[in-house]
Symmetry: C2
Subunit: 389 residues, 2 copies
Amino acid sequence: MTGPFAFQIHSTDGNARSSTLRTPHGPVEMPAFAPVGTAANVKTLEPRDLSELNTSLLLANTYHLYLRPGHDLIERLGGLHSFMGWDGPILTDSGGYQVFSLAHRRSLDADGVTFRSHIDGSTHRFTPERVIEIEERLGADIAMVLDECADPLDAVYLAQALSRTHAWAERCRAAHSRPDQALFGIVQGGIYPELRAESARILTGLDFAGYAIGGLAVGETKEQMYATLDATCGHLPVDRPRYLMGVGAPEDILESVARGVDLFDCVLPTRIARNGTLLTLTGRFNIRNARFAEDSRPIQEECACYTCRTFSRAYLRHLFISGEISGLRLATIHNLHFMQRLMAQIRTEIGRGTFASFRAGFLQGYRITDQRVRHEQRRRRAEALPAAS
Amino acid sequence: MTGPFAFQIHSTDGNARSSTLRTPHGPVEMPAFAPVGTAANVKTLEPRDLSELNTSLLLANTYHLYLRPGHDLIERLGGLHSFMGWDGPILTDSGGYQVFSLAHRRSLDADGVTFRSHIDGSTHRFTPERVIEIEERLGADIAMVLDECADPLDAVYLAQALSRTHAWAERCRAAHSRPDQALFGIVQGGIYPELRAESARILTGLDFAGYAIGGLAVGETKEQMYATLDATCGHLPVDRPRYLMGVGAPEDILESVARGVDLFDCVLPTRIARNGTLLTLTGRFNIRNARFAEDSRPIQEECACYTCRTFSRAYLRHLFISGEISGLRLATIHNLHFMQRLMAQIRTEIGRGTFASFRAGFLQGYRITDQRVRHEQRRRRAEALPAAS
């Protein structure tokens, strides 16, 4: 791939790849993790913080920005980069995930989806053409096609949804016109290898600038998710970036990189931070716990983030217990630093050909405790809340 | 005054003074404004932000820190500076203001005051000796004596309260022992010139390192406040800093500096920021107002703060309307930058002998709109809420 979105693979190590995706707002070194800035803001942080945290790519949510403050307003103010003061690469999702999570507040037909706003109940309609228009006006570097994110375990429904997703992908491809914006297709098909293979084949035929793997981390087990990646990545073109949407637990990132994924986004590190849950090399812990009341150590001894360089666990716990906003921010800084350091390490290890042993070593020391997060994801789907970062 | 708390006046201009107060954690250039870090944190900000905002002195609340996380814990973690990651000067109040605002949850006697925690209802007792012990363990550079902040308009009660305040000041003076901590006395007496003069005379006799003027900005009119300063400052020693507690509106600071005050603290700039109210050279406005929805200008064109350098009013309004925490922080940064720039300008103008014309020019352009704040102060007192930043 050449032009403003040139994609170059530097090294491979097994199925893992280290690469660079160029964009009009700078390069994205991959494997990369994109923090989520739902409302054109990564909650509690500023652009200067994101730069300090070595963030290359941000995700912003089309559904949320379309409703508030509106894509027209953002366009009039110079587009998303200018509006939010972030001059680096941005990716917008299509809003499909949020709209489909509205459950009883949306109705689907072959042409598109009609839904009611979670903010004021007003009625809106997304079609493939409309979503592309909104994303082009927002002006991110990377836009996503409108797809349907269905229950990954419901084979019968998935087969129907898949035809619609493919038809919409083709319409999005036809409608898309901004040369300074890359459009990525989204492979669906739940946990079923034959559906994933078909979806990958059809989307590859549409020649997208990159391919996302959608519909995962929404209720299936980790084993099912990893098996689905095994069954999907081999059907995607080697010379395009691969993006696993909505995944951000460190163990899932390592397993996905090993299977050939280049890009991730997730609210997890930032959302759990605001609940006081901190990421470390040995797993997560919650800073509210009474055992940290007099703990003079930083969150993690070897961490170079501002939070760890400056404050004790005891102080951070005090901020959370006292309801101080600064605590949410300091925890967010730490968790994003942890993620970006992990991604940098992954890139280095791939370059050295030592990714497999790094992954094994990391996972041996890291206690996986994300059952609650999975549970939370299920609960949110059941309650039809639109996802926010 | 010599030693670790040497106070040097550089220039006078009318009754206004520019000066430096040295402390073990660095100099405080005065006239100075101290932001309030109630719970060992200026809400939404970090020490690095406060440094960037040219903050020299912070205030922390003894009442709040005594209750949570506790002064013993803070002492064991190395004292307040180390605990909160702020290596600059800190002042702690005595907790008196908060305790007396508890109204029906406290009972007063000659020896001290017994009160119930606003957090868990537990019973506590402050005496002059106890407060000094707590403040010494917190370890701020400047500690305040325990005083009684009574209704500034109730002459009969004030006269009784004043004897108690003076007896407590003497006991605080006797109990205080940390050589690396300055102790300031607090002049009370409401709006009554003869009570203020008597209070100043008695406290001056106790030879404090500095003198605060307490019990103002709690219900009296601006004219009464200014007249009280006129009646008080002349009775205070020229060679000690003068500190007007709880005052922070720009117009009040200018009027008070003109009357000889050197130091201020107030939650106003930070609290109104979290409500979306922004300080400018022409007065305050609230960023939530619909007229800013598409306003591409910064809060103030000539402002050099990070917020104004980076974001439009439209974006800030979007953050507030969307309930994004970042909005509270960006507004706080702007308001504190405004205050610190104002204080720096005041110091410069005094040095040049042009303070009077600067003050007149500033006040001519600045629309005063703090009725609502005064109303809020009255409401909080009536509801007996402990004040927080």
